[in-house]
Homo-oligomer: 343 residues x 2
Amino acid sequence: MATVVVPPVTPSPAEDADALLKAFQGWGTDEQAVIAVLAHRDATQRKQIRLAYEENYNENLIQRLQSELSGDLEARVLQIFINTPQELKLVKPKLVKYRAMYHWVLDPVERQAVIANAATKCIHEDYAVIVEIACTNSSSELLAVKRTYHVLYKCSLEEDVAARATGNLRSLLLALVSTYRYGGDEVNDALAKSEAKILRETVTNGETDHGELIRIVGTRSRAQLNATFNWFRDERGTSITRATKALQHGADPTGYSHALRTAVRCISDANKYFVKVLRNAMHKSGTDEDSLTRVIVLHAEKDLKGIKDAFQKRTSVALEKAIGNDTSGDYKSFLMALLGSDI
Amino acid sequence: MATVVVPPVTPSPAEDADALLKAFQGWGTDEQAVIAVLAHRDATQRKQIRLAYEENYNENLIQRLQSELSGDLEARVLQIFINTPQELKLVKPKLVKYRAMYHWVLDPVERQAVIANAATKCIHEDYAVIVEIACTNSSSELLAVKRTYHVLYKCSLEEDVAARATGNLRSLLLALVSTYRYGGDEVNDALAKSEAKILRETVTNGETDHGELIRIVGTRSRAQLNATFNWFRDERGTSITRATKALQHGADPTGYSHALRTAVRCISDANKYFVKVLRNAMHKSGTDEDSLTRVIVLHAEKDLKGIKDAFQKRTSVALEKAIGNDTSGDYKSFLMALLGSDI
């Protein structure tokens, strides 16, 4: 369930476009005014606002927002000259807040394509973003993201992932982003049992050949995998999530083991996984705004209500309160609006 | 372009359904009558005939046809008891003619899903069928096949391919069937040149690690791959098709090298590839009816005209004539009808 609150009566798209133009004019952007409009409209309404803005003012709203909200010149100049993942990492903190708003204005599918594309550029650090998008969308949702990726980047998500990752990480990510998984509930229990055995042997014996494990996690349906994970727990006495954690202790320069664990967690209980991401983002000294923004912006219109409930249950603190304590200024206002807590 | 000829005026679906019922009644099936109806209707018309038949006679036309056309009892009994690929191979010659008609009555997408599923069952022999379906359909056509596969088999084509193939063959087939390739014409020439170098090194040096080669062939767009293949030819002085042929000389129990070469040929010139398949099917002592039927039935409604033209150009013999010399009886009539040569 979504958390975004759309007022029962909203201005027309042309009126909203006009309010945005006014917010952009004069010294600096009136960011509160921008939030008041955009954070309280659904995807269809935002699309109409984009169209009205372009028609009335002959200017692309996304580009205008990108330039308005990226505020300080330094960050913008840096963004233009970023060539390597290292450079991107340096300027990331400056860009993350502005990016949150820019991402929000995109439609939900476009937003995921843009975020996935950014992640392919430093894939050995940001592979978890790819895993999240591949494993928490349904097959048809993921397909919509891949179609939009074609339109935006004139290539496929698959080829970008495959060209930039290596070794087991590549095999895993490629299977996750490319498979059009079966979405039904049917489970073959005998198969689940035999494949749980393969997972157990691979994880327990510290085997380096993960081909079979990647095949299973990368291609089986969610229902089938959850049956397999249950057999794993029954026979091994511990969950696969816990068992794959042990894999991470060895040398793992590509991030494969962590990516594998992320996939397993997203498939077995996505809400629980996102609660952990949010908690990690806020537990760090200095909030990990990148992860925080990603989870809120990607899920506000979809299933953030479930993540909020799971967060409350796990921490006994409301997610709005936790985020409110950890953020400030326009950025805080924006996240609160997406969480449905500013009215 | 299709080759199937639909008369300008056709009977109503109910009249066609009635003609089929009459053909089924009495001693043995009037196979000529069945061909006269079904081989001269397009996919939409055949679907309407199926619906009319089911509505009027309360019986599934596909199942009725399957039982009528499988004619001799022996083949039917065998079909029921087939458990292993070896057994399937034994009874294949008996079944292939009946299957041609059964496959034809399916709608074009369903037909490909059924043929792909059969190929996964003896994948180390029939991998070429999977490669053809993956590499000669557009991304959205392949997706339609995969969606129908979900409906028919309650699982994904990807998981069946991955579970039944091994080693490099698995990696290649999985990438081919799962990637949602970019379909645009844009080519990055520098990338094509650098990836042609990777292909050259892998193919020339007899390397066993084909990870990069599989990534390139499995994920890049057709336009990009053709640019890469052109660079390969320019710098190596021979085509990649010819170069990959040399790979097949070594031990290759899984069929990987042949599957790779098939993929390269389907991507670079599908018509030329199918002409070769047809010629091989007819050059053998005893026609390879399985391949012959597959090419005709899968392409009659789509691009068989192009294959016919390429065949004539390559062999100076009309495809109808070549097939006519090699087949007989109802099977011949049926293929001739699909080739548009029986009127």
